[in-house]
């Protein structure tokens, strides 16, 4: 996986949400790439539309949803009220990912 750091985790600014879930944007110092997308598979089933001009991915479970576009410097996490702790879990998961460029 490309080395990256989470620069910031920002709660969603959307004031008119649908499902009553909570959402956060994970801001990265490196654009989202395929390796990052594939690494997120433990969080649910992966939908990966590679044939789009900018590939779109979604990792979905009953209580969470991670989505983003290749090349963006962020991805979005939504979680059911009962699993708001997933923010920390995803953060820890990414922090523990293999570092190939010496970043930590």
């Amino acid at each position: 996986m490309s080395a990256f750091r989470i620069v910031e985790i920002i709660p969603s600014r959307e004031r008119c949400a649908e499902a009553g879930w909570y959402a956060w944007d994970f801001i990265l110092d490196t654009p989202v790439d395929e390796a990052l997308i594939l690494s997120l598979r433990p969080f649910g089933s992966l939908l990966y539309l590679k044939s789009l001009s900018r590939p779109f991915f979604k990792v979905e479970s009953d209580v969470s949803l991670i989505k983003g576009l290749v090349g963006d410097n962020f991805f979005r996490l939504s979680a059911h009220d009962s699993r708001r702790d997933l923010v920390q879990e995803v953060e820890r998961f990414l922090a523990a990912a293999p570092d190939t460029n010496g970043k930590q």
């Binding site: 649908e18 539309l49 044939s51 789009l52 900018r54 779109f56 979604k58 989505k67 576009l69 979005r76």
Partner: protein, 380 residues
């Protein structure tokens, strides 16, 4: 950025709206007579009130009162009209700006029953008549659905409502400035309007209308008014715009309404219908796309659809992130209509246009949708 979410808030605005807002900020605060100011010059509030009345087919502009938007207007009416303990009807197409106050202001409203719509979002006069077999105090109904664009036959519905002795309360949030509105001709008892959609005003502006002779208990009491020494009001001297009003917003709203009147609402409606028809035809030719409300010959400036295999939320994310095209995904704050459409789970993707939307923007959107639909087809 291409904004095809005009039904949420119109953008861009006509230049005159921005100019009016800037002029209102640049000028000293209007006189409050007791400071010695006043005299010549137009009164922004009365001028905008008159414009609204002209646009909405209201003969008595003095019964138009400013609000911060449709939600504020609906709350003012639902708290103030004589509905306590009385049965009230609302159409299945209603927005949460009406549904939530109706269903939560329990001290102010009795039982709320829903008038069903069909799969296009149309509420038939027959359905209204059937629901009025049992007496009701009022019928709340949107002129134009913000999900399917269905336009209700309010002349026929108004006639039935009055024959059954109920009040007709109409929400024109989605149609004002986009479709001809005839409040007096329809026999409207009260009307809800917002400023930031088809009227091109700023967010935080809107109004409500109450017909002459219908008493409305004020929602708020406070500063401003005719008599500073008066502390207690009676129904004979109620005032409905307490506190310092949003004059820059009202000035800008007035400019937006003037722009609509000058363009001609009939012309705007025709132009928006043409854009929606172009959208509908283009989307229906794409694989996996299901367009809703195909049974309607004419609609307002919105269109809903879904794409097989991708949720509306994902589609909106891709359109925004890859193509810089803004649309709206989900239930569109009108949860009940989705039971008629069969889209309770995930809603629809809504595309909406304004009088300033260009054909080229529609074509760019259709081109983007063509790419996404093709990618989906490859996947499946």
């Amino acid at each position: 950025m291409i904004n095809l979410n005009q039904a949420a808030t119109t953008w861009p605005k006509p230049a005159c709206v921005t100019e009016a807002m800037t002029a209102a900020f640049s000028a000293p605060p209007p006189g409050q007579f007791r400071s010695g100011a006043g005299g010549d010059g137009a009164d922004v509030m009365e001028d905008t009130r008159q414009q609204l009345a002209d646009l909405l087919g209201i003969g008595n502009p003095g019964r138009v009162f400013f609000a911060s938007g449709a939600t504020d207007a609906a709350n003012a009416l639902i708290r103030g009209l004589p509905l306590a303990g009385r049965r009230v009807l609302a159409s299945q197409t209603e927005h949460n700006s009406v549904l939530r106050p109706l269903m939560n202001l329990r001290r102010h409203v009795g039982k709320v029953d829903i008038i069903p719509c069909d799969e296009n979002g149309t509420v038939s006069p027959e359905a209204v008549s059937a629901m009025l077999e049992d007496p009701a105090a009022a019928v709340f109904i949107s002129h134009c659905s913000n999900v399917t664009g269905a336009i209700q036959d309010l002349a026929a519905i108004g006639e039935i409502v009055h024959r059954k002795g109920a009040m007709l309360v109409v929400d024109v949030a989605q149609s004002a400035g986009c479709l001809p509105v005839g409040a007096d001709a329809w026999g409207v008892d009260a009307l809800i309007v917002t400023g930031h959609k088809g009227l091109f005003g700023p967010q935080g502006t809107g109004a409500y209308y109450v017909r002459p002779g219908l008493t409305l208990e004020p929602f708020r009491f406070g500063g401003t008014g005719r008599n500073s020494s008066q502390l207690i009001y009676t129904p004979e001297d109620y005032e409905y715009e307490p506190g310092t009003q949003n004059l820059p917003g009202i000035a800008a709203l007035g400019a937006g309404i003037r722009w609509c009147l000058s363009a001609g609402v009939e012309n705007i409606a025709k132009q928006e219908r043409r854009l929606i028809a172009r959208l509908r035809d283009g989307l229906r030719s794409l694989p996996g796309v299901h367009v809703y409300a195909n049974g309607l010959s004419e609609t307002g400036p919105v269109l809903s659809f879904t794409l097989a295999g991708l949720s509306p939320a994902d589609l909106a994310y891709i359109l925004s992130g890859t193509y810089d095209i803004r649309v709206r995904a989900g239930l569109h704050c009108a949860p009940l209509i989705h039971r008629a459409l069969g889209t309770e789970n995930g809603g629809t993707l809504r595309v909406s246009v304004s009088a300033l939307t260009r054909e080229a923007e529609i074509d760019q959107f259709l081109c983007a949708m063509g790419e996404i639909a093709a990618a989906q087809e490859v996947r499946s």
